[in-house]
Symmetry: D2
Subunit: 338 residues, 4 copies
């Protein structure tokens, strides 16, 4: 940490700051400059809580050098993490994984039809929500446990590992019995109790970026899971909130190469929620793969016009099939083997 003093800070104020740093068991190193003096803080093993320093007289600001995450950082764990779900591998130089399926699980028939289309197109994992986070309480909230069974059945029938969202701790047991991967949604990225519980089990986790989370907060959220022992975390960019109204969110693709450099965890992209528009999904999927995403999760529905949720951003089975032909060609171009 660096403590920047005011231009006109007195030497008494300097001494008081140095004493406060020492009281924290750390070392203070003054760095005199021509305009003002700074004080380097040494000896900390991680992120320092600067609250008590920031408000001492003469202090203008404090600047952090350490980050609120360490296990998630490539700086300390250079080796890439590969998350393996029944043979479907996310991370490093593995071929990107295509996850597809409906936003919501609606009926047994719908899930079987969706799974059939996903498999036919060449998707490797199946998605579907049984518990749906909706802005208002008067919208469809999902089928619950009944839906999980349809999802699991469809996955088995078509040999596709399944991923589904968990919204509360009490659901964990049920979901672990029915799904191969747990999704933490954007609205729960900082539901720290849920993160900790998910960290204690062995199921792989798909952690979505919060709608206004910085990359630092995103990695710190992953750190909550990693710190409890579960190292199978796949990150997912799904768009951030900006002033732009033409898309549902703003897809931040630069996060892909950045996360690949800053962390050893795999990073996938969800172009369906990021854009909210079906027409944008194919093109942004391709852009995501070129940006280095370890996978893409997209919404595919047997009949988007009748979807109970997010129909406007869902591809039909035919759309998906056509897109997959293009994606396979692109992945081959990018050097991934069939």
């Amino acid at each position: 940490m660096l403590i920047v003093m005011h231009h006109h800070a007195t030497s008494e104020q300097m001494d008081q700051v140095i004493a406060a740093v020492k009281a924290m068991g750390l070392t203070a190193e003054p760095i005199p400059g021509s305009l003002r003096t700074a004080i380097g803080v040494l000896g900390n093993q991680g992120y320092v809580d600067d609250s008590t320093i920031r408000t001492l007289p003469g202090v203008r600001e404090t600047i952090h050098v350490s980050k609120p995450y360490k296990i998630a950082s490539r700086d300390f764990h250079p080796e890439a993490t590969i998350v393996d779900i029944s043979g479907v591998k996310f991370g490093d130089n593995e071929k990107p994984v295509i996850i597809a399926g409906p936003c919501s699980i609606e009926t047994e028939e719908q899930m079987l039809a969706a799974a059939k289309e996903v498999k036919a197109g060449g998707g490797q994992m199946l998605r579907g929500g049984a518990f749906k986070p909706r802005t208002g309480p008067h919208s469809f909230q999902g089928l619950g446990i009944e839906g999980l069974k349809y999802l699991q059945q469809a996955g088995k029938e078509y040999d596709l590992p399944v991923v589904t969202e968990v919204m509360r701790i009490e659901q964990l047991d049920d979901i672990c019995q029915h799904a191969d991967m747990l999704q933490i949604g954007a609205r729960n990225m900082q539901n720290f109790d849920l993160l900790k519980e998910v960290g204690k089990i062995k199921h792989p986790v798909l952690l979505k970026r919060g709608m206004s989370a910085t990359i630092e907060e995103f990695l710190a959220a992953a750190e909550y899971i990693l710190a409890e022992g579960n190292r199978d975390v796949v990150l997912c960019e799904r768009g951030i909130r900006t002033f732009e109204k033409a898309t549902r969110n703003t897809l931040d693709l630069s996060v892909v190469p950045l996360i690949r450099e800053m962390s050893h965890l795999p990073i996938v992209v969800d172009p369906s929620h990021a854009t909210g528009k079906r027409m944008l999904v194919p093109v942004m999927t391709k852009a995501a793969l070129v940006a280095g995403a370890h996978g893409v999760m997209m919404e595919v529905h047997p009949n988007p016009a009748k979807a109970l949720c997010d129909g406007a951003q869902s591809l039909s089975g035919a759309d998906f099939g056509a897109l997959m032909i293009e994606l396979n060609s692109l992945m081959e171009f990018l050097g991934f083997q069939g």
Copy 2:
């Protein structure tokens, strides 16, 4: 809902859209214009899911007129809600309530000292966190149940109702036994399962605005609680996330008169978290009261320089006492009786 057609939409496309609207059990009313035609949708009792319409050929966009909340709306419930906590009243034209106390509960002595100072200054409620949401897992996470006891004891000793944050459903029973009001933090504003459970009990709730929540989403979150039966909800503005780095968040004070017009629920302001800077708390507290806030929640710590959390934004007891003298004078000027 209004459906706006493309400039060059054909009459077949118009007919298809009208048929789709009818299939939803609603009425479609074309409104021809000189440049393009729009189609009004009538007959809905609330928010319409437009996913299936938005992607029909010839449709340019759909525009919602209904909102994802209704019970929270003043349009449908013109009467102001007053939330009464052991005689401390929030809402309408009641005198604004001052809630104060430390960010975290640290020790029995600290809570008693804080409560003494809050009482001495004239605060009406005591705050303190036993379960702390922290960005990273390596920061202090709170004392838990033990802390709740200190809080309750301090509140009883100084006759101050207490409010504390709940982060997970399993904590609800314990917290209800020890606290008079439950706080839902900004990070959990869209933790819909928690909202629903809190809606099923009778404890009053302080619901904080999410860090990037629109007013519409904020009221829709309140709707989750109200829809389950709990009508004692106090809203809390605590700053939104913007590009500005000089403050922790950007305090959005216009939300106060807006919420007062759009909803019947009380709205309070937290200037400590919004600004992150002790120096800004007094002045923004006064601005909040002038803007019409039904209360203010601020951080007060017996020794901010030694606080385990958010010391930089905490007032000392002496600061708080001095501020309360000014606030009392301001409230008298604003027409509130002692």
Copy 3:
């Protein structure tokens, strides 16, 4: 400046960075830590361009301590600046100045009627736009020079100094002849050539914050004017762009006490453009004064329902008169003499 090295940076990389700093004529001071080493850069007289350092091997990031402004900073110029316009004083502990008038100058009669109402209510300055920045070219663009004459005449008739926006350098001569203060609009806050030209003349300037400008950029824009010699700059907060759609912009009132601490320049608030809603103007005006604003600029139109521009946020003369009675009472409470 502080240079933070990677955890695994080699000593050769350290040496290379130190050499690069020396090549810039500055001093490098290594600060070894337990996790990584930082290098303090000393000897710079101001902001250092770090582009060449940031990309050397082993460098993780660079952190600036100096700011891109100095003349605007209170750190270097502790004395408050008071801007005096024919006896109307902005700054320090002067009574806040009320500037009012229509968004656009429309006719001679409209300006005279507006000026009469502003004067009657107790406003001290008159505003009105002759050149209007409009999002699209098909909206009313202002009366131009003809409008300036109406403004000047109305100001003289009612003894009110006038302020009007300048949008291009060629207009400067004309506007200086007709107006007492020049306004630089939000869209031109970083039109650096205009800032420089305005810096070379002697007219006082009202500089509006850009719609997504940080406080640092806002002060750096003022620095452009100050650096050319014109020291009569009044800053104006007019709302920033966020994701919120219920208001035109988000009024950032914390900027008022922050600017008062960081700079010696006066800071005023424009609640009309910030909120875009007439109903919010009175309450946010009061909040701005309590927050410490040195003045408020608001839109007043003799007949808002017929305004050619921004009618929805304009007060009528009667609204303005009623508000001024409240404002005078509030200013008296705040300790300002009649």
Copy 4:
């Protein structure tokens, strides 16, 4: 336009609104609903100024259907625009154009060296700034006219059309003599007087998106140029401002397919300014091409470590050469002929 009435609006209020619409020469069509009534406004030839309507009693909100641009819209001009600069073609299905060169023109040698590298790599246009918009006045401001000569000379020597930024109207003549294309920078996207003047001449224009401009405002800015007669406008996405601090801006790639659908104008991407990090430029360039960009503009400097401006985001000649080999292969894959 649609006018949404309050739930409890009276029939007198309805009548008043209908009368106000008629007074504007337009037709009002009531659309009764079960919860509230809306009023459709018909007969307008474009964007309606709703200020006078929005504040009538009983009106809850107004909703626009028309946009503040028309010439820029594909809805009214379905044919794609191709901008041709001495044979280099932007738009529709033309092969994407690679523009490269230094941020600032520094010396004759530097420009010649840069041009040589751009040509050698296969770039088609040369960029370089003679007038630099810098946040603070104490940074390098560019060489001015002298720089333009170096740019022009380097372009001629290596047969590359050149583009350079214009910041003020008085520079237009000089710049038109020395450059093939004029750039309007992000900070001047709403400098409407500059846009109008540029609209009156015949030089092609590269219009950068403002740092917090919506797509609607971006197209409305282009409309200013088009409306004056100049139809050779190329749009440029260069990142928008968000809360994220890890990149200089957030590159919004979805804008590419959206603009291609909404407008007939070409759209290019500037990954250098969007990300601010050299390491991200190659990968985001590829993603931009896959997203459908009609070109990419990137910073290339003979010696980035000594660049006077933005060295951290500049590629070296060798970097550029290596990237171009990849880009050519990617463009071939995308179906563009050599």
